[in-house]
């Protein structure tokens, strides 16, 4: 019963290797090509975890960090996987920063009640999914984004997040459980 979601990353490894070597020797055109090839993948990860607000900055930072530390990339992981790992770490830092600031924030938490339901139904689906995802703890969010949104296998997810496979499975189970309840209340999943 295992269903593999569509993977977004399908760039030939040899092409990536050549691009990275060019970037290491200071070729910015090669770096730009890397950005163009992987921007949608990184957008999927970052927006999946923090929504639209601030995603562009985190996305930019992901590629800048890669460029500044390109010599550290030895090619053990695929380039896309390596960039995703940077993106996840930066996004988790951003979430921590936002949680610290929440004391001062006037942003309301997603409050699902009868009055709000209609408003939420009018929201675009992607915006609603982002808001539902924001209700998950960051550690559950990251596995849900990588496994269910980006289509990485559970093993790849464990490798990217550098956590045991068992932890991925348990976080997936709990994350899905909570997300299902939220989406069910909002009418986005129902029994046919």
């Amino acid at each position: 019963m295992i269903k593999q979601p569509l993977r977004k990353e399908s760039i030939p490894y040899s092409e990536d290797k050549a691009l990275v070597e060019a970037v290491k020797s200071g070729d910015k055109t090669a770096f730009r090509q890397i950005v163009l090839k992987y921007d949608k993948l990184i957008a999927g990860v970052v927006k999946g975890m923090i929504g639209n607000n601030g995603a562009d900055d985190v996305g930019q930072e992901t590629f800048i960090r890669f460029y500044r530390s390109v010599d550290q990339y030895k090619g053990e992981a695929g380039l896309g996987t390596y960039l995703v790992r940077i993106a996840v770490n930066l996004t988790l830092n951003e979430i921590k920063k936002r949680n610290r600031k929440r004391w001062y924030s006037l942003e309301d938490d997603l409050n699902i009640n009868r009055e709000a339901e209609d408003n939420y139904r009018r929201m675009e689906k992607s915006e609603l999914i982002n808001k539902a995802m924001a209700k998950l703890d960051p550690e559950f969010r990251s596995v849900v984004v990588l496994r269910l949104m980006q289509g990485y296998s559970t093993k790849e997810t464990a490798k990217i997040l550098q956590i045991p496979l068992g932890t991925v499975l348990s976080r997936l189970a709990r994350g899905q459980g909570k997300l299902r309840e939220i989406l069910k209340k909002l009418g986005y999943i129902h029994n046919e």
Partner: protein, 141 residues
């Protein structure tokens, strides 16, 4: 039932053992609730996997521009500066809190109060010295 729910969730992401598969198949056959739950999980997963995302137009231009304009300090250095700022602010806050406490307790803020010498009178010092001499007479005949 809890166990079958766990196996159901597990079945979406990993291979089940033959025993687990059999247990799940039997449970699905016998429970409408479990079948509904499976349906809901499938809906949710399809909903999530269908999400496409992209940055605003011109993203690569913004990245290249940032590359040109930002300082080339290593991320480690930038992080250390940020940590140092937090430590410095916390330290300053602790010092200010300490000074306020001293002022509230002693009603004054001078070197004596900072070193806890406000309740230490010269008479007290003399008495301490006499006591010390008595002590020496007793111990050291």
């Amino acid at each position: 039932m809890e166990n079958t729910k766990e196996i159901l969730l597990k079945s979406f992401d990993t291979e089940l053992t033959p025993e687990e598969q059999k247990l799940l198949d039997n449970a699905l056959q016998g429970s409408e609730e479990l079948r509904k739950e499976k349906q809901e999980i499938e809906q949710m997963r399809n909903l999530l996997s269908g999400q496409e995302a992209s940055f605003e137009t011109g993203f690569e231009d913004r990245v290249m521009e940032r590359l040109e304009t930002e300082p080339t300090a290593s991320p480690k250095t930038i992080e250390m500066v940020s940590v140092f700022k937090r430590v410095a602010i916390t330290g300053m806050a602790a010092i200010i809190a300490f000074l306020i406490t001293i002022y509230l307790v002693d009603g004054t803020l001078n070197l004596d109060s900072l070193f806890g010498l406000t309740n230490y009178s010269p008479d007290g010092a003399e008495l301490s010295m006499l006591n010390l001499q008595d002590y020496e007479q007793i111990i050291l005949p």
